[in-house]
């Protein structure tokens, strides 16, 4: 699959091609002044050409690097093709990066041009211009506030386009010369450089060729059968590889229309107006939308609430089966599902802007099975994928009908997967990057001579050939009995229960897995109120026998789950406790982005961890806490420790759930 590019191996070539085959079809929309404005492929080619010739007029040459900084606006997407048509290389940069962060990338990439959205970005670049001797010209999209800037190297994109149009009118051969330049481009040329966000060390510039992006995009289009009739909404950062593939690569190769929202604040509303057929979002967006619905339903009349609940139950029972085309759904259920679609699911999907959604993807983090199931039961084809910048996104994706909340699917077309002895996932594909820019050491470290790339994630292929990602490879440890210990994997399973706010798993280099849990006060307090359980404090509630029973139940379910997965069956939880205080960023136990700080917790709760392993049933602890005003105090409590039931591994579990 995929390699037949018919000579259309670069994006500028594809644009010229699309302008003739899809001439009048919409290529891009943008809501401006309250109205959706549309450009056809032919019109978009004209815009890009004018822009490109304008850039040529101010000195852009083959091989020049161009930073692109800003939000999802048509002119910035055009800038990619406009720069590429001249043999330049666009480098999208995260628009919310502060000047100091940006300066590293712009220096490292030696950018000569910057194409930016507005005054904010212009100011940012001007403030660091001294440190960027290579930077020659800046073009901006939105003139607001820039009226009295008289720097000669500042250009309004519209003015550049006018310049380009005038040049074209004045020189009969310019148009064909421009096309000649495009035809000189080759598939193996550098297409774009994307800097990885660099949570560890300095950002690295991932070099992707046209072949990487064009072939990956074509494969993805074929996998989910996208064509020129599809539509997406572009709302994720330009500098993120996903947006580059979804809103640029796949649009250019399939010919589908990309819609730019009016502003970042209007994305939800604009999505409802457009009703995209293809939608990507990280799990938190799906969670947020579901919370919105739940809150709104609580304000609805009791009749509506009852109807909503009744039909959601129907959907929960049979929706996924109907979506997957499974047999065994009774005629009555089918009829009720139809009715539900008319009364509840249809209006709900309309509200979410998902009425026309053919395929939706979520990736980036683990999604809660309940949330995943909710959307699927409404008849929305939500799937998971797994990818990386270095892979031009696609490593694995779930084929239609083979969906599960736990896996990330089978290898994407043309992708090979291998698992090392340590459990790390490797892949090889046509999308594999050329290398890190000016960093051969890092390239050699990540990518082998044979083209295999390390993901840094630990995972395994299940019985059906679906990949399961467990954890970051460096976090995965081993128990003394030799079985794998993936802490985050276990913690995530626990945290999917609404009653559990945080979980910390310990076990690396020990005999078995044990966990420390934090209850989530809101749902647990609600539950206590409904069940007439009196308590005076968080501590008392956390220590309540019935809360322990509830937690034991959750742990039990997680163990059953783990037992069904061969690789991690040995890591079942044997003992657990419920912490007497909430893990808190103020006490340094969590990072500001709410990630658990393992080493600090291990140190701080050492007596408890000791008790987890020495068999005692309770332990008295005293913990220092920092109050919001900075004062310190002590919390002391006697924490109970309970044993959990474990299960025999069921390596031969029935086919995909």
């Amino acid at each position: 699959m995929g390699n037949a590019t018919n000579g259309l191996d670069t994006f500028p070539k594809l644009l010229v091609h699309n302008a003739s085959v899809f001439a009048g079809r919409p290529a891009m929309r943008h809501k401006d002044f309250g109205i959706w404005q549309t450009w056809s492929w032919a019109e978009m080619l004209e815009e890009v050409r004018a822009f490109s010739l304008g850039l040529q007029a101010i000195g852009l040459k083959k091989g020049d690097k161009v930073a692109v900084v800003g939000g999802n606006r048509p002119a910035l997407y055009w800038s990619f093709a406009a720069v590429q048509a001249l043999g330049g290389v666009p480098i999208p940069v995260y628009a919310d990066a502060v000047a100091d962060e940006m300066v590293y990338v712009l220096q490292h990439a030696e950018v000569k041009f910057a194409i930016v959205q507005d005054q904010e970005q212009v100011d940012k670049i001007l403030s660091i211009k001294d440190q960027l001797p290579e930077l020659k010209q800046i073009a901006y999209d939105w003139q607001r506030g820039l009226g009295d800037y008289d720097e000669p190297f500042l250009h309004h994109i519209t003015a550049l386009q006018t310049q380009g149009r005038e040049a074209l009118a004045g020189d009969a051969e310019l148009g064909s010369k421009w096309l000649d330049g495009i035809n000189e481009g080759k598939g193996e040329d550098l297409s774009v450089m994307l800097y990885t966000s660099g949570t560890t060390g300095k950002p690295k510039g991932v070099m992707l060729s046209y072949d990487n992006l064009v072939i990956s995009s074509r494969n993805a289009n074929q996998f989910d059968s996208f064509d020129e009739t599809d539509e997406i909404i572009a709302y994720l950062p330009l500098a993120w590889v996903g947006d580059h593939i979804f809103s640029y690569g796949q649009s250019m190769t399939a010919g589908y229309c990309v819609c730019c929202p009016e502003s970042p604040d209007t994305v939800t509303e604009n999505r409802r107006e457009i009703a995209p057929t293809y939608f990507f979002a990280p799990p938190r967006v799906f969670e947020g939308l579901l919370t919105d619905i739940t809150v709104r339903m609580e304000d609805a009349s009791s009749f509506k609430q009852k109807m909503f609940k009744y039909f959601l139950d129907v959907a929960g029972r049979v929706g996924e089966k109907i979506l997957n085309g499974e047999s065994g759904v009774s005629l009555k259920d089918k009829l009720f599902y139809r009715l539900g679609d008319f009364l509840v699911y249809g209006p709900l999907k309309n509200r979410l802007g998902m009425t026309r959604m053919k395929v939706g993807y979520t990736a980036g983090e683990a999604i809660g099975p309940e949330i995943f199931k909710f959307y699927r039961s409404l008849g929305l084809n939500l799937k998971q994928l797994y990818g990386q910048t270095e892979a031009s996104v696609y490593i694995t994706a779930q084929p239609d009908g083979q969906i599960s909340a736990e896996t990330v699917g089978t290898p994407s077309p043309d992708v090979e997967i291998d698992i090392t002895d340590t459990g790390e996932v490797l892949y090889r594909s046509p999308g594999v990057f050329m290398g890190y820019y000016k960093n051969d050491a890092a390239t050699a470290d990540t990518k082998s001579k044979e083209g295999w790339v390390k993901t840094g994630d630990a995972g395994f292929l299940d019985g059906n050939g679906h990949l399961r990602i467990i954890d970051r490879a460096k976090d995965v440890g081993k128990l003394n009995n030799g079985s794998m210990f993936p802490p985050k994997y276990i913690e995530n399973k626990l945290k999917f229960f609404p009653n559990i706010k945080e979980a910390v798993a310990v076990g690396d280099g020990r005999d078995f897995t044990a966990v420390m849990l934090n209850i989530d006060l809101q749902p647990v307090a609600n539950w206590a109120e409904r069940n007439n359980i009196a308590y005076a404090s968080y501590q008392e509630l956390a220590n309540h026998p019935q809360v322990y029973a509830m937690m034991a139940d959750h742990v039990d379910q997680v163990n059953q789950d783990l037992a069904s997965e061969e690789r991690v069956a040995g890591a079942q939880i044997q003992r657990f406790l419920v912490l007497h205080k909430e893990l808190d960023a103020d006490d340094g136990e969590l990072t500001r982005t709410m990630k658990v700080r393992r080493s600090l917790i291990n140190e701080r709760y050492e007596p408890l961890i000791e008790a987890l392993y020495d068999g005692s049933s309770e332990r008295f602890v005293e913990t220092e806490v920092v109050f919001e005003d900075g004062r310190k105090g002590n919390i002391s409590a006697t924490v109970k420790i309970e044993d959990a039931k474990t299960y025999a591994p069921q390596s031969m579990k029935e086919a995909a759930e």
Binding site: D32, F33, G34, I35, Q37, T38, W39, E43, E47, R144, G145, G147, D148, E262, S263, D265, T266, E269
Partner: protein, 277 residues
């Protein structure tokens, strides 16, 4: 639609060439005295506002600042003195006549139609500009619709300018205070005023909202060339925004000049900080 048919660059001052050049007197207040019964709110005050400038009116509480704005836009009629706008001395003028002549204002306490959407509130600012009569409007189609579309276009330009697209359809009563202030500014701009009176546009705002609002005021002044008279308590804002400042205290003018002069004036310092008796 084709891309190059985007609306032309906005000019909210179009349609009225008042013959006053930038830097010349647009409005002048001459020896104005305003009394409420025995209380003298404003006593013998004179100053002028030049076209294209940002003119700040400052003073301690009860100095007569808001009364002064009310006199300028015709809400109060002074017992003595005259007001000259665009070279014409005006007689007793009603607020809507002031509005029609190109004076728009915002209020200290937001005065919006809380049940109506942002869009409708700003649209209401256009009502003075609607020329079609009641009968035509009743039938809607034809000229009335064309007119409505034209007005809506103007309103959308303002929404875009003030970056309030995301609240276009929301009832303003539910909006946070800072946004309500912005909507109110939008409604005043919908009038395409020559002179914009802002009564404490930043009262009760946090720093970020103040910075936003300052930027909008500067942009209105620079991009549309709208003359602005503003009452404000935040001295930092006044010193940054204003070209000239007039200072009132107990209804009297105690200083008038560029911000640096006013800041250095002993009388102004005394008025704000008090003097030992």
């Amino acid at each position: 639609m084709n891309a190059h048919t985007k609306p032309p660059a906005m000019n909210l001052n179009s349609g009225r060439d008042d013959g006053v050049a930038v830097g010349e007197e647009l409005l002048s207040v001459d020896n104005v005295t305003l009394r409420f019964g025995g209380v003298t709110a404003i006593e013998d005050i004179s100053f002028d506002i030049r076209k294209g400038e940002v003119r700040a009116i400052i003073g301690p509480n009860g100095a007569g600042k808001t009364s002064m704005l009310n006199v300028i836009n015709g809400f109060y009629h002074p017992q003595e003195g005259t007001i000259r706008f665009r070279g014409e001395t005006r007689t007793k003028m009603k607020p809507y006549e002031a509005a029609a002549s190109g004076i728009a204002r915002t209020f200290q306490n937001v005065a919006l139609f809380t049940g109506m959407s942002t869009l409708d509130n700003i649209m209401s600012g256009r009502s003075l500009k609607m020329n079609k009569n009641f009968i035509t409007q009743m039938f809607y189609y034809g000229p009335a619709r064309d007119e409505e579309i034209e007005h809506r276009r103007r309103v959308e330009e303002i929404i875009d300018f003030l970056e309030i697209a995301h609240i276009r359809r929301q009832p303003v009563g539910k909006l946070p205070y800072g946004l309500q202030k912005r909507v109110e500014l939008g409604r005043a701009l919908a009038l395409e005023p020559d002179l914009l009176l802002l009564d404490e546009p930043m009262a009760g705002m946090n720093l970020e909202e103040k910075e936003d609002m300052s930027r909008f005021i500067i942009d209105v002044n620079q991009q549309f060339g709208t003359t602005i008279a503003l009452i404000e308590h935040d001295m930092g804002v006044v010193m940054d925004l204003a070209d000239r400042v007039v200072v009132l205290d107990y209804g009297k003018k105690i200083a008038d000049g560029i911000p640096e002069e006013v800041q250095a004036s002993q009388e102004v310092i005394d008025a704000y900080l008090g003097v030992p008796h």
